[in-house]
């Protein structure tokens, strides 16, 4: 490679000097300029009229069911024999301030509990006869819902029927004759819908 000429070296030196001056000037402008300015300010406060929270409220046949359980007196059948069943309509309502979904979870107890079969139908309707032997009340129509699953969405102000059917299946074992205790409980959990 050939050595730069004296003219080239002078030109490069000049460019470095100019660049250093420009950088120095910019720093002076950025740092030194701040202290030389000031603004007038004014402040004001807006006070709201108050905030309160809404509530989520599910009712069963018009009752809270919480903390005291709602007693479904028409959902009961004594001295059942295999194949017999009873059904009852529960009116689930959203009387709160927000839409929600609800999930019913079934539990059975007592000596007859393990043998009982509980089925639920959203929008179903009780039908049949629980006075004539063999007693067979059932839920007609509706959409079956599994225990613990979300049954449906209920918008604010809406209500729907949840039909519950309790059956002593034909397959019930011989050991379940003459059992004097048996219970069914349904826990309903409403959960607010955000969107």
């Amino acid at each position: 490679m050939a050595e730069p000429s004296a003219t080239d070296r002078r030109f490069a030196r000049s460019r470095m000097i100019l660049g250093a001056l420009a950088l120095l000037g910019a720093i002076c402008l950025l740092l030194g300029g701040q202290g030389t300015y000031a603004y007038w300010t004014d402040a004001a406060t807006v006070t709201g009229s108050g905030f309160s929270s809404g509530r989520l409220d599910l009712t069963v046949n018009g009752q809270q069911g919480n903390p005291t359980a709602y007693a479904a007196t028409n959902l009961s059948l004594t001295t059942m024999v295999p194949g017999e069943s009873v059904a009852a309509n529960l009116s689930i309502a959203n009387v709160g301030d927000a839409d929600f979904t609800y999930a019913p979870t079934v539990s059975t107890g007592g000596g007859l509990g393990p043998a009982l079969e509980v089925r639920m139908f959203v929008g179903g309707s009780e039908t049949g006869d629980d006075n004539t032997y063999p007693r067979t009340e059932t839920c007609a129509g509706g959409t079956p819902v599994a225990s613990g699953a979300v049954a449906a969405r209920l918008n604010r102000g809406a209500s729907q029927t949840l039909c519950v059917q309790v059956t002593l299946p034909a397959s019930t074992g011989n050991a379940y004759q003459n059992v004097t205790t048996g219970s069914v409980s349904i826990a309903l959990l409403a959960t607010q819908v955000i969107a």
Partner: protein, 260 residues
């Protein structure tokens, strides 16, 4: 660094920031809940909202008269309403208690025919059923089939050689002896006919006096009541006819004659 590389680095930084924002935002969501509980039955007794019944105990069946052919069985329905069986099983046992039965019929009706063959004595019972598993069994009834073998009867000859009775002998049957009856008739030398009455002794022969009378029976012996000294003693021709009936209804009629 080239312009393309700078742009790539900027996009990557933006993506990381978006992920951080989204991930961090999820933790801030919350929703109100409201629980409620429904209990079946009354508030006072929810634990007995559901109870089970039971099948009523079925009655003991009745059987047709003993024979060597099919056995006809019938029974009454269990009580109506609660505990009504939806079908019945007719069980045949080979013992009065315990054992494993043979199922003769399964029916919703109230009659059944056991085509057999029934060998020897058996016991029948009705088992009421409901659903797939519920059962309740009634009491057993014995049944002994008729056999072709009539009762065996022995009349010792000459007649009258018994102590403490007018005449005696033996009778037996596999099913047991139900009754032993007799007619003891004599014809005197003048042609007068008489029949034995254990109370009035010898009476002129007639429809009533010469009818069958019950003998005493204590297995396997039968005896004709009366004093030996007053029965078969005087000169005459004596004819003893014995009719033996066993527990299946089979009969044997046998006669023996002695002339003194």
């Amino acid at each position: 660094m080239s312009a393309a590389k700078q742009a790539g680095a900027l996009l990557a930084a933006l993506a990381v920031a978006a992920v951080v924002l989204l991930a961090g935002g999820a933790g801030t969501l919350a929703a109100f809940t409201d629980p409620a509980t429904v209990r079946a039955g009354t508030a006072a007794a929810p634990d007995s909202a559901f109870t089970s019944g039971r099948i009523a105990t079925p009655a003991t069946p009745t059987t047709s008269a003993p024979s060597s052919g099919p056995v006809q069985l019938s029974w009454s329905a269990t009580a109506a309403g609660l505990g009504t069986a939806d079908r019945y099983e007719i069980l045949r046992y080979t013992s009065a208690s315990g054992g494993t039965p043979a199922i003769v019929c399964t029916t919703a009706a109230l009659t059944c025919t056991d085509a057999g063959p029934v060998a020897g004595q058996v016991w029948y019972a009705v088992r009421a059923r409901m659903g797939d598993s519920w059962t309740n069994e009634g009491a057993r009834i014995a049944y002994a089939p008729s056999t072709a073998t009539p009762p065996a009867v022995v009349i010792p000859v000459p007649l009258g050689g018994c102590s403490g009775s007018v005449a005696c002998g033996t009778a037996s049957s596999a099913s047991g002896i139900a009754s032993v009856e007799y007619i003891l008739r004599r014809t005197l030398s003048g042609g007068v006919a008489q029949c034995w009455d254990p109370v009035l002794r010898w009476q002129s022969a007639g429809t009533a006096t010469c009818a069958y009378r019950p003998a005493s029976y204590y297995a396997p012996d039968w005896t004709i009541p009366g004093s030996p000294g007053q029965g078969i003693k005087d000169p005459a021709t004596y004819v003893l006819t014995v009719r033996v009936t066993d527990n299946l209804g089979n009969q044997t009629i046998q006669s023996a004659t002695t002339t003194i």
